[in-house]
């Protein structure tokens, strides 16, 4: 669409192809060259590039802003890096025991993004199961980072951005005083076709919000508003 006149040429090429028989192959080639080189008067006049192709950026899977400068998503892959650069991230919280893809490690390294590992099960080592939930300890660790403005802009992510990320964000909403129905609705919005896990919701409901220590001199403004 950005190339005015080119459409017509394509059209002619196509019609040439349709009529293509071994018999007039030579003629076709010759005609093709005309279009490719644009060395005709017609070409010079009509082939105008109105604007360059639009560059589209790709947010990671399940990406969504949570609050000002706080984001959630699944594991970012190289196709998402230009998008992540737009966010000017200072910290990424990675909610798994195993390391994320090398490309993400490299990306964080190059752009000075602190990658924080919130171990799911410190004793589990490499035997981490993707369906294991988070321990209270690791939730508190992640939230302790979230309630500190020094770490912003901040991205919270796990493999798919569903349950582990959902658990941490859910507990954050509890701290902010959201009623449980709204917390559950938000959690389930990101869980995909298989739906939410009751265990995750039980964890969120039972989470003792007093365990997260909030330093009001460092808390983000929306959190202070929530705690007023």
């Amino acid at each position: 669409m950005s190339l005015a006149g080119v459409n017509d040429d394509n059209y002619s090429n196509k019609s040439n192809l349709c009529e293509n028989t071994p018999f007039d192959e030579d003629v076709d080639e010759e005609e093709d060259n005309i279009y490719i080189n644009e060395e005709t008067e017609l070409g010079r006049e009509h082939v105008l590039i109105a604007h360059g192709p639009q560059r589209r950026i790709v947010p990671p899977l399940n990406f969504c802003p949570v609050e000002r400068h706080l984001y959630r998503s699944g594991q970012p892959s190289p196709v998402n890096f230009p998008f992540l650069l737009n966010l000017n991230l200072r910290t990424i919280i990675w909610l798994a025991n195993e390391e994320p893809q090398d490309s993400l490690l490299e990306f964080c390294d190059i752009h000075n993004i602190r990658l924080e590992f919130a171990a799911i099960n410190p004793d589990g080592g490499e035997d981490d199961n993707p369906w294991d939930g988070l321990t209270e300890h690791s939730i508190i660790n992640a939230l302790q980072t979230i309630v500190n403005q020094d770490n912003y802009p901040l991205l919270v992510c796990c493999g798919m951005g569903r349950h582990r990320t959902g658990t941490v964000i859910g507990c954050l909403r509890r701290i902010m005083g959201w009623n449980l129905a709204s917390v559950s609705e938000e959690y389930r919005r990101f869980t995909g076709s298989r739906g939410g896990r009751i265990l995750v919701e039980l964890l969120i409901e039972a989470f003792d919000t007093n365990l997260v220590k909030i330093d009001s001199s460092k808390a983000p403004s929306w959190l202070l508003t929530a705690l007023e």
């Binding site: 802003p65 966010l87 005083g177 709204s182």
Partner: protein, 274 residues
Amino acid sequence: MTGSNNETGEASAIDSLIENEAEIIRLIQKDVSMLRDNGNGNDIHRIINEDKILKGEFEHILQRFHDNCKREDGQLLEEDEEDLFDKDEHMTKSEEKREFQSEAQQEEVIPPENFSHVAGEIYRSSFPRVENFQFLQTRLKLKSILVLIPEEYPAENKEFLEKSGIKLYQVGMSGNKEPFVNIPSDLLTKALEIVLNPDHQPVLIHCNRGKHRTGCLIGCIRKLQNWSLTMIFDEYRRFAFPKARALDQQFIEMYDDKEIITLANKKNWLPIQW
């Protein structure tokens, strides 16, 4: 392809309703005494409403009509009902909540359904009810609300906006319903112009369920942020679940953003701040 199916399905259902209604009229006309009793024989709907037995029969037939429709073309009708802003429903649900709230003074806040942060100081949600007002005022500290329904804003919401100094903007859209109702592009441009203006922020965008019309508008905002269409659709479906509409996605893709981009560039609104 689905459109033509829907059309025939709907048409035959309507045909059967008309047939049924004609039958009722015949019955009424046969029973002349009843016409005299009511004085006004011209107003068929009044007669039906005033006569208990007849009303029951009529409702029974209507019920059958709806059942038929659901079987043949269930999704369409269901969706439309859901999308429509129902004043009575809004009232009763709010009333219930009001009583409930005064009894149990809780410190919890209740964001509206389908609520989310969009970008900067732009938020989205479904129709806010009484129980959500506190959240909108004290947490979001809204300056304005953009509502995308054509119906009149309910009095209690208006009252709340007045009290808390929130300005209301209304861009009435009727939604991308099958078969041929479209949100015109210039309405969307108008809506974007309101939302992107920093003087109006923090701003909340809502329609009835916060799924379709709001989803279209957010999709267009994402276009201005240069998101890939695939991820725009993914976000749209997440919020519209389980009622995503292919037509809305078509609309987002085909929306011509040239005008709003020119305008936004002139006013220095782009890029949209996170």
